[in-house]
């Protein structure tokens, strides 16, 4: 048996090479495709940019030009980096509030089913409210302040957290619930030791979705209010008006980096928390 194995390996070296390759492939499989795609996008961008006629060239500066003049030039990053930080703080702040409020709302709905019936339709309705229509009202109530922008962030990022958390709380295995009841665990014990950890995968999915939405909310909020310390949203409008397209694209790239960064951070946290027990984290092998 053993000898047969050895013979196959020796006679069939390509098989061995293939194994090594798959191993390496697995390690980079999460990184390589996006990098490859980004190269393709840059090439397409470059081509389109080069094909534009002289008078329209300003609409799409080349990638190098965006990086050099829009991001790396001293006065460019001197302006845009503080804006980046500002928007990050706004998004994180609103996101934090959305997490706390969302989890509380879900926990209360879980505790009192009749409250779920009463509240949940409004949570769904909240999704449908056009935020830009609410923004002027926010401005009247809270002024053109950080808080007003924060509320926009919360409104946009809120829903996935209570919705996912509640789903997780409700999906406790009936046998486990029986076990806890049999040993007369109180509601609190069942919540902390059973329902809450059980809901972690869904809750963390909610976090990942909301994190991206929070960035969108922060930029939308800034673009609407256009007051206070300028964040990325304000810069975007400003560059557009001043026809500073290098910087405009630079700010757009930073905005998407912020969204991707948020998403990656929470994906990482999620995989850390769940890696020992949940399929979603185990399959990714993080």
């Amino acid at each position: 048996m053993i000898q047969l194995d050895r013979v196959t390996t020796v006679q069939n070296p390509p098989k061995l090479v293939k194994v090594v390759l798959t191993d390496r492939k697995r390690r980079f499989s999460g990184v390589l495709p996006p990098i490859a795609l980004s190269i393709v996008i840059i090439v397409i961008w470059e081509t389109i940019s080069a094909s534009l006629s002289g008078s329209r060239k300003f609409l799409l500066p080349t990638p190098q030009s965006v990086v050099i003049h829009g991001l790396l030039a001293r006065d460019a990053y001197g302006q845009i980096l503080p804006s980046f930080v500002r928007t990050s703080v706004l998004a994180l702040g609103g996101f934090g509030v959305a997490i706390v409020l969302g989890m509380l709302v879900a926990a209360v709905m879980y505790r009192f089913r009749w409250l779920e019936k009463a509240v949940f339709p409004y949570l769904v309705a909240l999704q449908a409210v056009p935020i830009l229509a609410v923004a002027p009202l926010m401005a009247v109530v809270f002024g053109y302040s950080f808080v007003a922008k924060g509320i926009i962030v919360v409104l946009i990022a809120f829903f996935p957290i209570p919705a996912n958390f509640l789903l997780g709380l409700r999906s406790v295995d009936a046998g486990l619930d029986d076990l806890f009841r049999l040993h007369r665990a109180s509601w609190w014990t069942r919540f902390w030791k059973l329902a809450f950890p059980n809901a972690l995968p869904q809750l963390l999915t909610g976090f990942r979705i909301s994190a991206g939405l929070a960035v969108v909310g922060a930029i939308v909020g800034e673009e609407f209010f256009q007051a206070g310390v300028p964040g990325l949203g304000i810069r975007l409008l400003q560059y557009l008006q001043n026809v500073e397209y290098n910087r405009l694209y630079g700010a757009l790239i930073l905005s998407s980096f912020l969204g991707i960064g948020f998403y990656l951070i929470f994906t990482w946290i999620s995989n850390r928390v769940l890696r020992n027990w949940h399929e979603s984290a185990i399959q990714q092998g993080t």
Partner: protein, 258 residues
Amino acid sequence: MKTIVENGAYLTAPTSMPSLSFEGVGLTYKDGTETLQDINLKVGRDEFVSVVGPSGCGKSTLLKVASGLVEASQGTVVADRDRLGYVFQDATLLPWRTVASNVGLLAELHGVPKAERERRVQEALELVGLSSFADRHPRRLSGGMRMRASLARSLTMDLEVFLFDEPFGALDEITRERLNDELLQLFLTRHFAGLFVTHSIYEAVYLSTRVVVMSPRPGRIVAEFNVPFSYPRGPEVRFSPEFAQLASSISSALRGAE
């Protein structure tokens, strides 16, 4: 202290009674489905009673009623709910906890201090042979090991009554037979009163002092067999003519009930 459920209400009972008893117990759901009918059954310490019956006859429900998870609509159930263990069909382990932490769960729920809890966990893990897997998470265990962890969890408590709801039903035959032997070992050392629900007549005969046959829904007890073999029972018992004969009588009682 023993508690009695009478039409759903728990009462206190004198200690001379059997560890678990059903008297005229019936269960009818609100929609009118009659699940259990006039169940009379007593299980004392050092008795191991298996319940066999067609699927859907209410065997599992019988355990739920015994544990108080479901209230009987007629009759009386006597059991000490504080000293009652329940081994479910699945291992019902918390996937986010390690084996040791899972095994310690019941002691934790009952407020046993940490040091004492750890001592009991270690002891229980040794009993089921899982000591070296204490730090693993359940998903990295085989089905048989998970079931052992589930057993160990109940062994951390000083239990008088043990309810088993087809605990080995999902396991392969070899693992199942090994766990049967381990369970018998525990039964002989712990002296509990066991009520064991199973699909397998052979398993029932091998483990039990008595085998009870239930009819299809609404579940009634239609036959009771005493198992004459003495403990400890070795695997050779399974191949004795008496074993085959008893299994065949139970099998025909089961067919007669259908």
